[in-house]
Symmetry: C2
Subunit: 366 residues, 2 copies
């Protein structure tokens, strides 16, 4: 019965704005997702769009366009995935929403919360679903850790979080990538990698906002003033101590340390698991000094969480589920994702302001 109902649903038809590298990964995810299909891609260069569709296994019926407008004007497109440079998000996400396309938006979602609010308002007015493309949120490991953190009898109360996301893509990236260009991705490493660290801290905190953010000294910038590496501490009213480090200048590292009164949980590949179909996390539970403090007991335990689809396909599947509810069942857009996205942006903005103001504590907006 339930299976038949699902089978009755037409898959959500995606159009993709631009041929960014990350769009290759998400195209595959759309194709892998059982309730989704890709029907169009647009680029400023038609040849590029055509090559992209061909190289990424698009169905034969899919259309390649020489503009973004053509994608959002296509009546067969239900939803768009927008992996454009951040400075173009406000314009194209809002335009897509006005054309009644649901919006899956690559992160960082906007240059600041004012821009994001324009996007969210356009989605709200037009009744379309919004979600940011923070893939690790959708891995079943994430839910498993949420459950472990919520088991207060075992984990106790969360008291400290540290997160790292960094990568070192080499000199060509640092010279030419859009993520280091002030007119394209002005938030640099804070927007691209800090986004994940901040999301991790918010996630661990039941999405309660910190009261203040304070950037740590020793931020590194490129010649154009774009952040290449920084750290910050986020201050919470419940007394938690949280810190993160994000960078384009250090080895690809993806760390969350979650410290509770009675347990410690860590994971070392939170953004993209080393393996696609299974992902570990490590639990130190009720760790104590042994006799004469000679050893520590018990040893940490590895938990491995398997998934039948890669996390990015689960993201697309979840997004399309929500779209299907709206389109064919007359439901309301799910607000959860815009709320989380906006909170993340608020913290990004506060850290950026703290950097700009010389590392003073900056109140996080609302």
């Amino acid at each position: 019965m339930a299976a038949a109902a699902v089978a009755d649903k037409r898959p959500v038809r995606f159009g993709i704005l631009g041929c960014a590298n990350i769009a290759r990964k998400v195209s595959r995810a759309i194709i892998l997702s059982p309730n989704s299909t890709v029907v169009a891609v647009g680029s400023r260069s038609l040849a590029k769009a055509e090559a992209f569709a061909k190289e990424n296994g698009f169905p034969g019926s899919a259309r390649a366009y020489g503009s973004y407008d053509a994608v959002i004007d296509d009546p067969d497109v239900d939803a768009v995935y927008i992996p454009l440079p951040t400075s173009l998000h406000r314009r194209w996400a809002a335009l897509a929403a006005e054309k009644k396309k649901h919006v899956l938006l690559e992160k960082p979602v906007a240059l600041n919360v004012a821009e994001l609010d324009e996007i969210l308002a356009a989605c709200r007015v037009n009744g379309v679903q919004y979600m940011d493309a923070t893939m690790w949120m959708h891995h079943p490991r994430t839910a498993a850790i949420t459950a472990a953190l919520s088991d207060h009898r075992r984990f106790g109360k969360l008291k400290a979080v540290h997160s790292i996301f960094s990568y070192n893509n080499g000199p060509d990236f640092l010279k030419n990538d859009i993520r280091v260009k002030p007119d394209l991705d002005a938030l640099g490493a804070l927007g691209d990698t800090g986004w994940y660290c901040i999301r991790a801290i918010l996630w661990a905190s039941d999405y309660n906002l910190p009261t203040k953010a304070t950037a740590l000294p020793n931020v590194e910038f490129n010649e154009a003033g774009v952040i290449l590496s920084c750290g910050a501490s986020l201050q919470f009213s419940d007394g938690k101590i949280t810190t993160f480090y994000c960078s384009f200048l250090t080895n690809l590292t993806m760390e969350i340390n979650l410290l509770g009164t009675d347990g410690y949980i860590r994971l070392h590949d939170f953004v993209i698991p080393f393996q696609e179909y299974k992902a570990p996390f490590y639990v130190h539970a009720n760790t104590k000094f042994g006799e004469r403090a000679i050893s520590i007991e018990p040893e940490p335990v590895e938990h491995i969480v398997s998934t039948d689809l890669p996390q990015e396909a689960l993201m697309v599947k979840e997004f399309s589920n929500l779209v299907q509810k709206i389109e064919r069942e007359g439901g309301e857009p799910e607000k959860k994702w815009e709320i989380i996205s906006r909170k993340t942006q608020l913290v990004v903005d506060a850290v950026k302001a703290s950097v700009d103001k010389g590392f003073v504590a900056v109140e996080v907006g609302e």
Copy 2:
């Protein structure tokens, strides 16, 4: 020839001041160490000292005393191990040095650097060896990681360090332990657990001092004003970003994250290994996004370092080696350990000052 020379040496004869819990571990370490023996223990209670000697496998010839003075007056004692409350260190370490006893001093070594300087001056004037009892420094794993960090071709340059040491010994500890009493161990969790985190950051930084220390907000104190948990960032002139968290209120956790331009090294039991005779660390080397950023390559590698003696016995062995050089070869005391100890204390002091001043950046003294 070398073996015969070693065999000729009389083992270093230790006296122990006080019957602290940690002294049980170090007594065992002295007995395990091939160049060391324990000959005396003193307590304010003779019965307690006698019971301690018996319960900890002291040789039959060892003496139990009803005072600390008796230990440092004993002509058969070459060196003292001092696990007394921190507020007593200045008095007893200086007195021991004046009696020409070498000093192995439990950490935190002093309430502040001024007190430590008195101890170090007494050691220097009397030509005795000084070492603080930071056991993990002596595990061969520590040297193995030092070598890995120094391999700049593989690891690149160190850019960020995060360290955690915390434990949760429960309500009785928080009410009654000397480590939470303002008249005994006024530095609380900062002195007892932060000491290790600060040492870890200094160790990773080739013992270069940070320029400034800034405590993070949300320090927790007990009713007497002793720190139960805190975090801080240490600012280095080379641009490194370093942070730590130390606590008596969270699960026993012992973490160092070392992030370089081309590698990432982590260990999860740096203070006391889960296992006595082998200790792991994990190396992420030249980690990169795989094809289409679907996976991350290569996976981290576990390195296991074995040891023939527990780290605390290696500490005693190293200390006694230095003592033997002085006593029987007329050498000078090794300065390395006092230099490292003093730098650690300088940073502890700066973090404490930052807490007291409301989380402002405080210059680290010299």
